[in-house]
């Protein structure tokens, strides 16, 4: 047992080595990054961070990412919960067909729609706007989200809703006051899965956003690298800043994230 413990801890340390390289070199001078990248820094150049913070306009990119991720998540959860609920409770021919379309669409890779999507969005004057990006996430995220909610609603007994009906609740009251609160566990799961995807997504914002002002963290990072190729004393602190929000979010929320990932997989 002790041997197993030691082996797993060593493996864990090996897993952390990339973070060691990233952090340690992010505070070194350019010269010493090149000569001895494995060593502990001789002196800490915190100014690297100040420059990277300014060069990437980090607060702006962070805020853009935050807005897109939060708004997309809230709207996606709401509209998909409503749709999935109705599809389960009123399985008309139309609803069954629509559900089938959602399930089938789960296998569509983004590359298969990206070229015409840009045309559709520019036709709707939604290009180069945060709103357009959010709408794109609502549409592309809908299939898997509806699918996860659908499976959950099916397992909720109808009796509770009947009781609401007897008490005189409207169909909307029943959904918002009775069903939606019951769906809380699956909503947490869905938000976690969609957050991991949307926060880290590169291609969709790259195609839709052009103004540097709207850039999310992956877009800002990519643009930064194009400009400062191999200037590691700026690039490494920029990367550290880029991964910091999501790593902190993960460390704070890990209990929910790990639970969410396992429930999400069972339903999928």
């Amino acid at each position: 047992m002790v041997v197993v413990e030691i082996v797993i801890v060593l493996l864990g340390l090996l897993f952390l080595v990339p973070f060691y390289f990233l952090l340690v070199n992010s505070v070194k001078e350019y010269g010493s990054i090149l000569t001895d990248s494995a060593n502990w820094p001789a002196a800490f150049h915190w100014s690297n961070y100040r420059e990277a913070w300014k060069a990437t306009e980090f607060p702006k990119a962070f805020l853009n990412s935050l807005i897109v991720t939060v708004v997309s998540n809230l709207l996606l959860s709401l509209i998909c919960a409503m749709a999935a609920y109705k599809m389960v409770r009123r399985p008309t021919r139309f609803n069954k067909l629509l559900y089938l379309a959602f399930v089938a669409a789960m296998v569509i890779p983004f590359q298969a729609i990206m070229i015409p999507l840009v045309k559709v969005l520019s036709g709707l004057s939604l290009m180069d706007s945060t709103l357009g990006l959010i709408i794109a996430y609502l549409g592309f995220g809908a299939p898997i989200t509806v699918f996860l909610f659908h499976g959950f609603v099916k397992s909720v007994p109808v009796d509770i809703e009947e009781a609401g009906k007897v008490d005189g609740s409207s169909p909307y009251g029943i959904f918002f006051r009775i069903v939606l609160p019951l769906m809380q566990p699956i909503i947490v799961t869905v938000i976690i899965l969609n957050t991991l995807w949307i926060w880290n997504d590169y291609l969709m914002p790259y195609l839709i956003l052009q103004s540097p002002n709207l850039a999310t963290i992956p877009i800002a990072t990519y643009a930064f690298f194009g400009q400062y190729t191999k200037q590691w004393d700026l690039a490494l602190p920029a990367l550290t800043l880029g991964i910091a929000p999501v790593v902190i979010f993960f460390l704070v929320m890990q209990k929910y994230i790990i639970e969410g990932v396992s429930t999400g997989s069972v339903k999928g």
């Binding site: 197993v4 797993i8 864990g12 897993f15 990339p18 390289f21 990233l22 070199n25 494995a38 509209i79 409503m82 749709a83 109705k86 599809m87 009123r90 008309t92 379309a101 959602f102 669409a105 296998v107 890779p109 983004f110 590359q111 298969a112 729609i113 990206m114 070229i115 015409p116 999507l117 045309k119 559709v120 709707l124 709408i135 609502l138 549409g139 592309f140 809908a142 909307y172 991991l196 880290n200 590169y202 291609l203 992956p218 990072t221 990519y222 590691w232 690039a235 990367l239 991964i243 999501v246 790593v247 979010f249 993960f250 890990q254 994230i257 790990i258 990932v261 396992s262 997989s265 069972v266």
Partner: protein
């Protein structure tokens, strides 16, 4: 009666409408449009796309070695990616469901790479392959670290595999952990009483019982590796000499570097068909291996 119908229609509209509309605008319509473009020679700028029939498809299969190369790369990468992530993920799960002192910390450590996006990971690892490995190589003298990791065809292939496994094994680990925890204790204990060793319990009780999780994990690892893009873009850009260009990156280059949207659409449709076929086949194949309890 009429009022009831009207109310039901309104409900259908309000509940299902928004999701259906966004889905139609973002996925369904573009998908059908893409199908149409794939039969044209559209360059992305012209108002009119000239009809090309099946010319694009014929061209792809007869005169475009880069696309077939990208498929070959993606295929080899997928096979290795799925084997290695699942093996490591399962082994980690098997070890971390035992009563270890550092169990929870280690679960966190192995999962953490997955929360960081592929694009940033690619850049981080670019630094490690180019500078970090070199300095470890200098310190230890091990030739393994002195290889030109992003410089040759085979080493850059392995570079992407290494980063991919590092990124995703922990996610599969989490799924395998929850599956292993769901195996009824009585079952393993009964096997123990009957004289089964650790290996036999694993082979004849645990693995058959976690087959549903295997289905899910294979599905995930295949779809991740088959759609490889972000990591590919930032780590090697498909190089050297397109040796590590994935299908997704090839389609992207066709459309946005070469401005051949019609051709790109045809490639995207082929990509879609292959992804759909593999997903359906794989789920069908592993579902049959699941045992009912």
């Amino acid at each position: 009666m009429n009022r009831r119908r009207a109310s039901e229609l309104a409900q259908q509209f309000i509940f299902v409408g928004p999701a259906a509309v966004f889905f139609a605008v973002i996925v369904a319509v573009p998908f059908l449009l893409g199908l149409y473009y794939s039969f044209t020679s559209w360059n992305g700028i012209a108002k009119h796309a000239d009809w090309a029939g099946i010319r694009n498809y014929v061209h792809i299969f007869t005169k475009d070695p880069s696309f077939l190369n990208a498929f070959w790369f993606t295929f080899r990468f997928t096979v290795l990616g799925l084997i290695l992530t699942n093996l490591l993920g399962f082994v980690l799960a098997y070890v971390l469901t035992r009563k270890l002192f550092t169990r929870n910390v280690m679960r966190t450590v192995f999962f953490m790479p997955h929360v960081i996006g592929g694009l940033l990971l690619g850049f981080i690892w670019q630094f490690i392959f180019v500078r970090g490995f070199a300095s470890i190589g200098q310190a230890t003298g091990w030739s393994f670290f002195n290889l030109p990791w992003l410089g040759t065809e085979s080493t850059s292939f392995w570079s992407i595999v290494i980063v991919f496994v590092w990124q995703n094994a922990g996610y599969l680990m989490v799924i395998y952990i929850s599956a292993l925890n769901n195996v009824p204790k009585g079952l393993t204990e009964a096997a123990r009483v009957d004289g089964a060793g650790r290996w036999q319990v694993l082979r004849h009780v645990l693995i058959p019982m976690v087959m549903p999780a295997v289905t899910v994990c294979l599905f995930l690892s295949i779809s991740w590796s088959f759609k490889l893009f972000d990591l590919n873009l930032s780590l090697t850009k498909g190089g050297p000499f397109k040796a590590t260009e994935s299908v997704a990156l090839n389609i992207y280059n066709e459309a946005y570097t070469l401005s051949r949207y019609g051709m790109g659409s045809a490639k995207a449709i082929i990509f879609f068909i292959v992804v759909a076929l593999i997903s359906v086949l794989q789920v069908w194949a592993t579902k049959r291996k699941e045992v009912e309890v």
